[in-house]
Amino acid sequence: MPAVRKTNPALVVGKYAALAFYLIFALFPLYWLLKIGLTPDALIYSEGTRLFPSEITFSNFTTVIFQTDFVAYFRNSLVVSLGAAFFTTLFAAGAGYAFSRFVFAGKRIIIALMLVTQMFPLLMIIAPIYRIVADLGLLNSLTSLIVVYTAFNIPFATFLMQSFFDGIPKDLEDAAMMDGCSRFQALRKVVFPLTLPGLGATLGFVFTAAWSELLFALMLISKNDAMTFPVGLLTFVSKFSVDWGQMMAAGVLALIPSCLFFIFIQRYLVQGLTSGAVKG
């Protein structure tokens, strides 16, 4: 945008007011979560609508961590999310590389199919997947979740990785192959270091998606010690619907990994999307 010649004070005030509005809108619910999590039980109802609690306590957090199953849920979610993120990124990098570098028979069809999978309701296959997983005896196993989440995320992750690869000149691999590398060596030594931002972004994206997935986890896991966080929290809420402080504390804890990841990678997402968008 061109530089503004003279700043109209009313516009500036308006702009910062708008920025403040967006910021408050974005952060308020999270703040509320934290606030109730820090409010001692006795004061929760009486101070329900106050902005600041009169007393702060960490007892909700300690109770959640040490006296409930949440640590187990947290651990399960971590395993599933990291596993899905790792495998998705690996497979999507391969596919994204293939789409970026090669022209081959059936390329268009495969891309079209991958696009289609993004469009239809995944819930459509919740019934068959339940049956298949049950028949394989893999109900209540984290492995089934990892496999399912990986498959679900591959199309979009491939699209992401493809745009990142498109931003790396093809000449580099050619030069490396002339210098004595096989294509795979060229990938490892020359291209891989340059795609680290892209890999990071994809890992973060899939991790966040897997961390928050609810319905398939609900369907496939019913045993308490195999539950992931979303399922665990939900059952907790519906069974013991009164201990607000603890539930909010658990919610805050659930937030931490995905928010951390996301803050880290959102820069790369914009970068990657921009360069991908420019190339159409």
Binding site: P169, D171, L172, D174, A175, M178, D179, G180, K189
Partner: protein, 355 residues
């Protein structure tokens, strides 16, 4: 040691034929330039020699051995890319020594070879810089250094000078020529710039639309082009080509003027007459072969470019050494140096008696 042969080589993408009937024999130590307009297939041909593109049909041999299915890394050929393709995350020293790093050569050897090459190319002070901190000319030299260190049996250049500005281009062109003299290695060079071709090549291969139009030394292509395409592609400014009809002794131009031509030119099937701007003399109005009116006159000091209009024929261009005092709107006479004229048939073939 590095005699390269292409026999009936063709390249197809699906049903689209991009190169056909490519037959070429390159002697050891020769500097061959592949030249042609965009899309003629010259870069594809180069990449097939490198092994980066597979050959659809035909044979590709090095020293008599068929190399179609040998992978690029085993062909002992080095390539300088148009974009230089320097590894962005490695410094100059590592870029140049990368091939030795892959082969796991001892570090001491690597270091000495790299610094030797760096000295030859004037890069010693830039050894630990990253490519993004280098100018275009410097990057070019690093790319060349990387190729030189390989000590290959052949060098491939893919339009290495197109990304440089004009002055740098001349300088780097000389460097490449000097390199060839020093190493006496076989070099295959691709460009769309015919000046580069004429100055660097031992022999030039002119390509158009996937076919070889002509192979020959620069002078051969200039003096005896095999067809109209080569005639107009080689030589700057472009050759004038006008429609004519053949007579017994010469040709008749569109405006009725009769031009006598020497015996070597076969006039029977002549459809067009070609003559280079530097082979037309300016004479007094009323004399000479054609009568013309000057349109735009460019005085360059060393030469004069006169763009003329000839009634019944169209526009032509004349170039003479020195300063010719002609003004726009003046009427002139043009005399064609018939010993330097060319005749072309309907399909563009040059009509010349094989002496």
């Amino acid at each position: 040691m590095a005699r390269i042969e292409l026999r009936d080589v063709a390249k197809r993408y699906g049903s689209i034929e991009v190169l056909r009937d490519i037959n070429l024999e390159i002697q050891d130590g020769e500097f061959i330039v592949l030249v042609g307009p965009s899309g003629c297939g010259k870069s594809t041909l180069l990449r097939m020699v490198a092994g980066l593109e597979p050959i659809s049909s035909g044979d590709f041999l090095i020293d008599g051995e068929r190399m179609n299915d040998v992978r690029p890394r085993d062909r002992d050929i080095a390539m300088v890319f148009q974009s230089y393709a320097l590894y962005p995350h490695m410094d100059v020293a590592r870029n140049m020594g990368f091939s030795m790093e892959i082969r796991k050569d001892p570090v001491a050897d690597r270091k000495s070879k790299v610094s030797q090459a760096a000295e030859t190319l004037g890069l010693t002070k830039l050894m630990d810089r990253l490519p993004k901190a280098l100018s275009g000319g410097q990057r070019q030299r690093v790319a060349m250094g990387r190729a030189i260190i390989r000590d290959p049996q052949a060098f491939l250049f893919d339009e290495p000078l197109s990304n440089l500005d004009a002055a740098l281009r001349v300088e780097m062109r000389l460097e490449i020529a000097r390199l060839h003299q020093k190493l006496s290695a076989t070099m295959i060079y691709v460009t769309h710039d015919q000046v580069e071709a004429l100055t660097l090549a031992d022999r030039i291969v002119v390509l158009n639309g996937g076919d070889i139009q002509q192979v020959g030394s620069p002078l051969e292509l200039y003096e005896r082009p095999a067809n109209k395409f080569v005639a107009q592609f080689i030589g700057s400014p472009t050759m004038n080509v006008v429609p004519v009809t053949g007579t017994d002794a010469g040709v008749t131009a569109g405006n009725g003027a009769e031009i006598r031509l020497p015996d070597q030119l076969l006039t029977a099937q002549a459809k067009e007459l070609g003559v280079r701007p530097e082979h037309i003399d300016v004479v007094d109005n009323g004399t000479g072969d054609l009568s013309a009116m000057a349109d735009v006159v460019e005085h360059l000091g060393s030469d004069t470019n006169i763009y003329v209009n000839v009634e019944g024929i169209g526009s032509m261009m004349v170039r003479k050494h020195g300063n010719i005092p002609v003004k726009s709107g003046e009427r002139l006479g043009l005399r064609i140096q018939t010993e330097n004229a060319h005749l072309f048939a309907e399909d563009g073939t040059a009509l010349r008696r094989v002496a």
